[in-house]
């Protein structure tokens, strides 16, 4: 596969490490949320046949975490964003 890196253009998936569902960005606040919330966060994932937002790490590249929107059926990649930008846009900060 080729991952369309937002800064570096198409890069071979061999350079990346795959993590999975981009919902892992939405980590609950550990000072407020309890075991139930963390359990759901960590273990409950969608496994869609179709569009999926997932985390890829450019380990053999610029070390950016990316959020890649990929069709799990066709492997078509519709979008790739810097995960940091996605996290900031989702209200994550300090």
């Amino acid at each position: 596969m080729l991952i369309p890196h937002p800064l570096l253009g198409p890069r071979d998936a061999q350079e990346f490490v795959y993590l999975g569902d981009a919902a892992l960005i939405d980590r609950p606040d550990g000072t407020a949320a309890g075991i139930e919330a963390f359990h759901d966060y960590l273990y409950l994932r969608d496994n869609p046949a179709g569009q999926h937002r997932e985390l890829w790490y450019h380990e053999q590249g610029d070390r950016s975490w990316l959020v890649v929107t990929r069709d799990t059926v066709t492997h078509e990649i519709l979008k790739a964003e810097l995960a940091r930008d996605v996290a900031l846009a989702r209200g994550r900060g300090r």
């Binding site: 800064l7 570096l8 071979d12 350079e15 053999q60 590249g61 610029d62 950016s64 810097l82 940091r84």
Partner: protein, 187 residues
């Protein structure tokens, strides 16, 4: 100046390595200092000003730029590797820290890498056996991280027949072996 301890190259030798395999020349550089320069959050302006004042170029993604005595290449969002002659910058962090203050994070990288200068009439036939970089169409000054036989390296294109390769120091011998094998295959 006599050094307190005798330095050794990543190959464990006192002198830098020189090799020629068929059309390919390999020359090790052991006289350059390398430092990582990272922009601190919210300090973009101070960072840019300090870099300008120091004369350090800050090229964009996948690029290297020269501004003697410095050269720099982009390694990650907000991070560059800065090169300088070792004889004038033996402790590059100490030299740059006062310039950047709290606007940057600096970390010594000189000895983390083995630096090999590759030369041939055309390096594309060699590099296409080593990594997935499309060297033939890359512009001069192209700088990228790439995988060579499982080793994360930086490849910098200086010209069609000249390139710099930075590989992890501890695997210098494995990297050299890969280059020599590939060079013999096209010799």
């Amino acid at each position: 100046m006599a050094e307190p301890l005798p330095p050794r190259t990543p190959f464990g030798l006192a002198e830098p390595l020189r090799r020629r395999i068929g059309p390919v020349g390999i020359v090790e550089r052991f006289d350059l200092a390398l430092v990582s320069l990272a922009e601190r959050q919210g300090k973009a302006e101070a960072f840019a000003t300090a870099a300008r004042a120091a004369g350090i170029p800050l090229p964009g993604p996948a690029r290297r730029a020269e501004a003697p005595p410095f050269a720099a290449f982009w390694v990650a969002p907000g991070m560059w590797f800065v090169e300088a002659p070792l004889d004038t910058h033996p402790d590059p962090v100490a030299a740059l820290k006062p310039v950047f203050g709290a606007a940057a994070s600096l970390s010594e990288q000189t000895d983390a890498w083995v630096r090999l200068e590759l030369a041939a009439g055309d390096l594309a036939p060699l590099l296409e056996r080593l990594c997935n970089v499309d060297y033939a169409t890359a512009p001069d000054g192209f700088a990228t991280r790439t995988l060579i036989e499982h080793l994360g390296c930086y490849l910098i294109r200086l010209g069609p027949g000249a390139a710099t390769l930075l590989g992890p120091r501890s695997s210098a011998e494995s990297l050299l072996h890969a280059i020599e094998t590939a060079a013999a295959a096209i010799a």
